[in-house]
């Protein structure tokens, strides 16, 4: 396992995005599930956002708060450490996934416990914590409903907010019926596929685990530097269970989750729920600062995680990805995500944000990571809905440049010069040739004329690599003459700049 692992443990090799998508677009059930879910939430998000007249100002404030924090991240990290320690917590620092997993496993082992309950957390997914704990003989139980569906189904998450978005109610019922008994309380007899009954089955199944849990593991949506307060935003109450009932709480948090002041939460507690579940406010938000007497865990550990974040921070264009608050609005609105599904992105971070985050956290070395920057039509819908204004298309194009042309990057804290990725040589030559031709109108015109004269022989579809276009689309018919010839015939006598081919 590489030092920076943002993948699905147990699924180490991912095909490129186009290869994975090739299968996904043909899966009618998957397409139907994704279409239904994303279209439902799209309309609701738009309505929830339209309710607040100052959305643009909230978005801008959120962007500025995050940019400011990243700009002074060293200072705020130290402040978090001081505040959490003063409030009775213990702070740990993890450079990469391996170190974070080691820290957590050691902390759990010290309690003498063999099982932990988990609040849904992207950071612990990213580092493959469950698998690392399992290797140490510790069972980690996911308690978020969608995570439970994924865990029981031995599946991979496909969405940031709703990891089982690719499953419909019938599939979920089947998983519950066949798998719950192996993990604990079996599914109720005659379980139907109504969402209410499925939620009830999860409630019963997980309750015994919550009530006996001694160790809880979470991430956090925000960490407030000035107070040392952690914030977890959730819906089901599983978060509250994991954060308050166990004796020991371990929170694994990416270093970019910091906000400077308490007041900053007033921005994100307005923008996150509306962007995420399209609610005015999510059902439960928990905030805790260290430990509090008899209320909640008596031992609290905060693990601050780098795992590629500082490398991302070093990139002038790409660092804006660290503003992300994991709302998943960009996934829900993305036409590519809707059709390819989350698994095609080969990472716990799918969709547009995943396409710019994974290749930065992991580097562009693997086939999947080198293909992710191209997994977008650059339509810009993601940027439009992003509550912290991450210009995802801009970063995608920037990462395409890194893949196609190589250049300076930071890996593992060191500056490196990347070579262009394999498989782009022909494209590079073509781009250069095109640029040369387009730098000389005479050459462009020559090509146009040749094409027009031979147009009767041009087919509407192409063999070989050209099939990528004409497998599904006809080529346009070539005109009898390019525009510039018509213009010269009809307007050239007027002189002016237009008359000549241009000397350049």
């Amino acid at each position: 396992m590489s030092a920076t692992f943002v993948g699905m443990p147990g699924f180490p090799e991912f095909p490129s995005f186009p290869e994975a998508a090739h299968e996904a677009v043909r899966d009618k059930t998957l397409r139907g599930n994704l279409r239904h879910a994303t279209h439902t939430i799209r309309a609701k998000r738009a309505k929830a956002v339209a309710e607040v007249s100052d959305w643009a100002a909230l978005r801008e404030a959120g962007r500025q708060i995050k940019d400011h924090t990243l700009r002074h991240l060293d200072r705020y990290l130290v402040q978090v450490e001081e505040a959490v320690t003063a409030a009775g917590g213990t702070v740990h620092w993890a450079v990469d996934a391996d170190e974070a997993n080691r820290i957590v496993a050691d902390l759990v082992k010290r309690t003498g416990e063999r099982e932990v309950v988990k609040v849904k957390s992207m950071a612990t997914q990213e580092i493959g914590l469950n698998e690392a704990l399992e290797a140490e003989g510790i069972h980690a139980y996911e308690t978020d409903l969608a995570e439970l569906i994924v865990q029981l189904g031995k599946d991979r998450p496909s969405h940031i907010l709703v990891p089982a978005i690719h499953r419909n109610r019938g599939e979920i019922r089947d998983i519950f019926r066949s798998e719950m008994s192996a993990w604990g309380r079996p599914a109720p007899e005659g379980l139907s596929d109504t969402p209410a009954e499925l939620a009830e089955a999860a409630r019963l199944h997980l309750r015994e685990k919550f009530l006996r849990a001694k160790v809880g593991i979470s991430g956090a949506n925000f960490v407030v530097a000035e107070t040392g307060t952690l914030v977890v935003v959730e819906s089901e109450g599983n978060g509250r269970m994991c954060l308050t009932l166990p004796e020991t709480l371990i929170s694994v948090v990416g270093i970019e989750k910091i906000v400077p002041t308490w007041r900053d939460l007033e921005v994100f507690l307005q923008t996150l729920p509306r962007s995420s579940t399209a609610e005015r406010m999510n059902p439960y938000t928990s905030m805790w600062t260290g430990t509090t007497g008899q209320d909640g865990p008596s031992t609290f550990h905060l693990v601050l995680l780098d795992n590629g974040r500082t490398d991302t921070l070093a990139d002038q264009v790409g660092r804006q990805a660290l503003r992300c608050i994991r709302c998943s609005a960009c996934l829900n609105v993305c036409p590519v995500y809707e059709r390819a599904g989350g698994h095609a992105y080969g990472s716990v971070y799918p969709g547009p944000i995943g396409a710019i985050l994974s290749p930065q956290l992991r580097g562009t070395g693997s086939e999947i990571d080198a293909s992710l920057p191209y997994a977008s039509s650059l339509c810009g819908a993601c940027y439009e809905v992003c509550p912290v204004a991450i210009d995802i298309p801009e970063v995608l194009v920037h990462l395409r440049e890194r893949v196609a042309q190589g250049g300076q990057a930071t890996r593992g804290g060191n500056k490196v010069v990347l070579k262009p990725a394999k498989g782009h040589a022909a494209e590079r030559t073509a781009m250069r040739a095109a640029r040369l031709a387009l730098s000389h109108p005479g050459l462009l015109r020559g090509g146009q004329r040749l094409a027009s004269r031979t147009r009767r022989f041009h087919p509407r579809s192409l063999p070989g690599p050209g099939k990528a276009w004409s497998g599904t689309r006809d080529l346009p018919a070539l005109p009898a003459e390019p525009f510039r010839d018509w213009w010269q015939r009809t307007h050239a006598e007027r002189g002016g700049q237009g008359g000549k081919d241009g000397a350049k």
Binding site: H68, A196, R203, T244, D264, L313, Q316
Partner: protein, 215 residues
């Protein structure tokens, strides 16, 4: 070198290109957003709170101080509750009219014990009208976080209008960050099945909010 030093060193090197910036934080962020949305009187704010609570499937009741004990007794009776959890600092008069067995939360009460209690009655720290949110801060009339989590039926009493604010920013102004805080907007819910909201998962599946006026 410790991991702490490595990470801090990497952060500093990563930011080497950024020009120095000593703007005080208060001036670094333009907060052009609103302190509250819309202009409402106290009564309208309470009405909005009630409307938004109902929208997220909380059950809302209104009462004056004198009628509160009878209302709470009615709610517990209607529910068929045999036991009710009582935070240490709850106004005793609130439960004056009910015969339901009171269970006091002790520091060593186990989650399993709390799981056998039918209902819980608490006050609150503040309520947010725009979002239909009640906030608990662990004060004596609200108790430890677990007592409003494990029982399936939560009755929360809000004093109107003084405990009600319009907006999230106004609510955060009133709260003390160091306290353990829980923001609650309706009963527990999930959007995990086909991204459609369903009420009733791990937290209390029934949330009843009593808006109490007068002293």
């Amino acid at each position: 070198m410790s991991s702490r030093d490595r990470i801090l060193g990497r952060v500093r090197r990563a930011l080497a290109d950024v020009p120095p910036d000593d703007t005080p934080y208060e001036q670094a962020v333009s907060r052009d957003y609103l302190r509250q949305h819309g202009d409402r009187g106290a009564e309208e704010t309470v009405d909005l709170l009630a409307e938004n609570l109902v929208d997220y499937r909380a059950v809302v009741h209104r009462s004056d101080t004198a009628g509160l004990p009878a209302l709470i007794a009615h709610l517990l009776g209607e529910r068929g509750s045999k036991t009710v959890l009582v935070p240490p600092g709850l106004d005793e008069s609130w439960l004056a009219d009910t015969e339901v067995t009171r269970v006091t939360d002790r520091p060593d009460s186990t989650p399993h014990e709390l799981d056998r209690v039918d209902s819980v009655v608490t006050g609150c720290a503040v309520a947010i009208a725009e979002t239909g949110t009640i906030v608990l801060d662990g004060s004596p009339d609200q108790g430890r976080r677990r007592i409003t989590l494990i029982p399936d039926h939560h009755v929360c009493v809000i004093r109107i209008p003084d405990q009600v604010v319009s907006s999230v920013p106004q609510a955060l102004d009133r709260l003390v960050p160091a306290r353990p805080l829980t923001l609650i907007s309706g009963p527990s819910a999930t959007s995990d099945i086909e991204l459609d909201r369903v009420e009733g998962v791990h937290g209390p599946r029934t949330l009843e909010v009593v808006l109490v006026s007068g002293e």
